[in-house]
Symmetry: D2
Subunit: 400 residues, 4 copies
């Protein structure tokens, strides 16, 4: 709305829509079904084949606008593509647009040295490897990032990384080759200068993926979350990102776009949930009526359209503000979307579950897993409460 | 957002903001305080004086874009001005932008004959007279407009209007000179061709303002709502609007913009409610803390910012769609705003009431009256349920 | 539920129900309609006549169980009668069961000297006079009662009362003869020993009813709320209640029952609102259906039954706990009811308003005024937030 | 509340509480952790050992009051024990109080022939075998039980059962030996006489457990739900329960207690969730405060106490009504509890998840699985909408 897509973006959108129909939806259940135990973390041939197809089709790195590997789309434009690929939880990986790789590629593009880019960014952009992002810690309330305790200590030409992280998305996959780790390099510095981010190869001695974490009952293998121990892991000093003490600076630059990408995807999930309500309602009969003719069902449909519109508009507004004003100036708009969208889309999905009956909570539909995903994002990347607090600070500051 | 205001609109916005500060807020309590019984429906000198000032300042008929009497603003631009004047329930009248006159002026501009325009539109645009709109009837569920029973019967060169209406806003005012009346001219016609709209002078024999209606306890004299009886009222055939049987056609054209204007105003009320939360929270102490430092209060503030953003964006989207696609094509966007905005803004106002304690429900703040107004608009111009039903019909129709 | 009413209570209940049908509902609009300006605060002959009838019928002081003037009912039993009289906002006064007289009579019965009882309790129990209770102050957040600033200063054989109060219910009525005033008698004492309560005759020099306060536009004359100034009002030392510094002790004893009485009444309002939904739904047709046949309406009805059950059960539980364990031990149960019941009953009433359309917010039904009353009680007698905080303190204290 | 427990029930309650502390909580994670693939549906030695202990301790068949195998508790009394064992999703099985065995034992006790009792009830009561209940079908909206299509056809001395069921809880377990199957025995009979229930041994030829069903990713092996095909399964005519055409009659008798048992359990889950909020809030620090000192957290705690009280009271009321009036007369009370309790307890659990951050959705706490369970029960045993509709019918019928 409110602005035209360029013809390039429109073309991508149409081709993306077609690709989803041809390759993603028909393979969705297979892609998301938990693998047999023996191959839980191995690359899945089906996914690899689809990635190759997507790349060949030029539907690759749609989020990326730092160079020829991407598509040069604005956030506003990418929003409208991301919504489409967001319709399936199986899709972002296929288009090389999944978290946390997207955020890591952004970090490397913005802050990486030429060597870091050559070593990690290039194979990430090509889809050859995967990465993970290690920030949250089980021992402390990580919603307050100053609580983080993992130590990054200089030792000659190296740093020693020591700590325990969890919710390290993607870590257990055999394809994951590097972690971006946030930790404390100088506990005596000013509060927001104590933290650094550093690149840790997953095969460095001392890196241990302790166990996978489940979200509700979903493990999401091989892409899921894990608890990871860094047991005196030694990495070269050249792996430091941007410079000691600049971890918060990187985090701020990384998290805004990351958050809004989740919101974009969720609009797609919510639209699909609403479609599924309509389709189910038209196909089932109870108490002598087609569900679609029942007033209570229709109220749910009408309200869901209202809700999705709100979710989409706050997302587009934030994307627009990022394009126009920059990520920092757009931070309140991003916070609004981060609060609003997971709650609203979760509610729409929950209504779809109710209408589907038992099928809705089962593995036969995308709904239960989509609910888990949206619910998780009311915690992940900062719980709602922290973002509301940030908005309140800004509001109160307007009135001296 | 999403588009620049023209320099003309920006200039109007700035001058409007200044006028509000100088003339409206300081006089608000006086304008809204119930008049003494003897002068309940008389013109109020203070209001008349302010109207003259507003007109002289060129802050007049901001909504109107059919000719030199207006400002030539798009709906999208007017939205952002209407939000400002909407901050005070006392303001719309002062700027000649209040319901139902706005809608009636739109009807006359769009559908009136030259004679009708000369007789009624000109003095409405100049603010010389006021008008009312008589549609809802106490005897039937008027949310289904086909239920309406008032009869408009041809009799020679005249029509006879016979029926009982209520929620006729503005009718009791001494300044109200004409009613637009919806009624049934041909009960045998096709369902949406039975109705007509006709102009009825308030001093025509048989027009009786039976009693004022209160909304919650607010009478809003002299602008409030009334029950009106049309007791075999005879009007010339030339008073028919557009033509017999075209009442629904006019209603469709009228109601869309009317609904969105309410939404625009409500954004202003909600913004002001949020400001009042912040100001109150900064000025009161309980249990050893300034309220503004309490986490629960801050959560309310943060959430309210999210809510207002959603309300504003659906309103702007609808205005943008009306400008670009026309009122008819924008009807679903308008329905979304009509459902979303009164509920959200009512909720924000309700939170402000809670933070103000007893003061919040009293006449000392604008809040209680603003709540009543937003709550009323979940019923007026069609209850939420009817609009959700319309959206559901559109959604279901997408899936054959 | 859960326990039988005694035959005495059952008999009272049946006779009360009959009295409501015969005398209250038919006169309700007349009793609640705002009086003409000249007689706004005068005794209303209709109300006086009904009070005489109620007293003659033995339906009098149903709440009172301290002596022969009352009915000897337990809180559990009174709950079930109070629910019935609570169905009409006009009824409590008629049965001498209205706030704040009930609370004041309880205070005088529990803490009054024989002289105080003779002077004030006796005529209150007989209905000869009315009283008011002055605690909340406009200048401070009175939800924290330690904020209260009105001074009660010993001066020889007298006390001087100096301060400004508001939300003094019943103060403007010509029949109101005495105020119970809470104020600070010793600002240097321990936090909860600084306050005293004292009896102030309304005709004492220096007592000024400054203005009535409206609740959502409702003035409730002649019973409504007021702002009252105590301008160096001198009263005899014998007017002190219980003793200097014991104001909090009295407040604790008074507020528990007061709060639960509001809850009991609100169950009655909610039941009546649900009835009104059913009756309206059966009598109106829209879009070709009786409303009562529409699924969305039926969902509202079913949910409202659930909601009312919850409200009633927490109220009965609190009454039962008060009977069995005493007001102090029941304080958390009372807090639960105080939080739950106004919100739930307000929501049921609001749904009834929606189904009634414009009629619902108007003076033609009891609904809008009932909503205002329930909404006010989410603030009055302590806002929800304060009661939730008290519950949280108790919960957290369970886990060392 | 509202009534004393007998000393027998109090004693059981205390011993049950002690058993939970000693045996259930310490083993909970082990009992609920998904088994390795090879032993997914096998009996788990740990569970078997705990069952033996519970039986030896006399904490067995607490729900059962039809004979010496049970404890003779009223529904009201059992409620208060069931709440305790409901605190852990691992517990009901250990005490032989889990669904659907409880309901099946009730059916057999009430309607079984001596032979049916000897063959199936006795080993169920002793815990030797498990059973399942096959009602819902994937092909139709089973919320309207008249939609059910599985055929039960007389064939000589046998019946042939033919159909596809799902949400057959417990079916995949190796210990499950018999299914109660609902199906249509006479499609030409009156609407509520077409259905029968029949006992089908799980090892009868043609019974196929097609696949397990997951609920939000949880498979709950070996107790979970399954899709089951009955492929022309032949069973002796003596397996018919109560008589042909009496399926609805049995369902009515079975479902009421079954529903209320879920509610009882959920109160326990909600209490435990609230405890977990308090404990977590006391142990974590963010932004310089212990969470337990933050106002927003405390509001959540206070509100959760209110919510749980409501859930418990509607459950106790329903149990009390069943004891006193019978299951049929109590059906509206049961419907209220069925609607209210899963929603409320799910909301409390969801708040606990939010406060736990990532831990809350993971396998480290009971919360995510508890949420899935409560959410499922807004669909299972009839979706909320169907129960609200039943309540609405009753309400509307009161007003002729």
């Amino acid at each position: 709305m409110f602005a035209e897509l360029s013809s390039h973006a429109r073309d991508l959108r149409d081709r993306l829509t077609a690709f989803m129909a041809e390759h993603i939806y028909p393979n969705e259940r297979a892609l998301l079904e938990p693998p047999a135990e023996a191959e839980r973390w191995a690359p899945r041939p089906l996914a690899m084949a689809l990635m190759a197809k997507a790349r060949a089709a030029g539907l690759w790195n749609l989020f990326y606008n730092h160079g020829p590997e991407g598509q040069g789309l604005s956030n506003f434009e990418y929003s409208q593509l991301c919504e489409i690929l967001g319709r399936s939880l199986a899709a972002p990986e296929i288009f090389n647009c999944n978290a946390p790789d997207v955020g890591n590629m952004e970090i490397l593009a913005a802050y990486g040295t030429p060597e870091q880019k050559a070593q990690w960014l290039a194979p990430l952009l090509s889809g050859e490897i995967r990465s993970c992002f290690a920030m949250t810690e089980p021992a402390v309330a990580s919603s307050d990032a100053t609580n983080i305790e993992t130590a990054i200590t200089r030792d000659g030409d190296d740093y020693i990384v020591e700590g325990r992280k969890w919710w390290v998305t993607g870590a257990p996959s055999a394809r994951c080759k590097v972690a971006v780790v946030m930790g404390k390099s100088d506990p005596t510095a000013a509060k927001h200068k104590q933290q650094s981010m550093i690149l840790v190869p997953m095969d460095a001695p001392g890196v241990r993926v302790v166990r996978p974490l489940r979200v509700y009952g979903f493990e999401h293998a091989p892409l899921g979350h894990a608890e990871v121990v860094f047991d005196r892991v030694r990495v070269p000093a050249a792996n430091m990102l941007l410079g000691e003490g600049r971890g918060f600076e990187i985090a701020q630059g990384r998290l805004g776009p990351g958050r809004i990408h989740h919101c974009m995807r969720f609009i797609g999930l919510a639209e699909r949930a609403l479609e599924s309500i309509c389709l189910r309602a038209k196909s089932r009969v109870a108490f002598g009526s087609v569900l679609a003719d029942m007033g209570a069902v229709r109220q749910v449909i009408g309200q869901s359209r209202c809700d999705i519109e709100q979710a989409r508009l706050v997302t587009l507004k934030a994307a627009w503000a990022m394009d126009r004003l920059g990520n920092k100036a757009a931070r309140n708009d991003i916070a609004v979307a981060k609060i609003v969208v997971p709650t609203i889309t979760g509610a729409v999905i929950d209504r779809a579950i109710q209408i589907h009956g038992g099928a809705g909570v089962s593995q036969d539909f995308f709904l239960a897993e989509a609910f888990a995903e949206t619910r998780f994002l009311r915690i992940g990347d900062g719980p709602d409460e922290v973002h509301r607090e940030a908005l309140a600070r800004a509001e109160l500051a307007r009135w001296a």
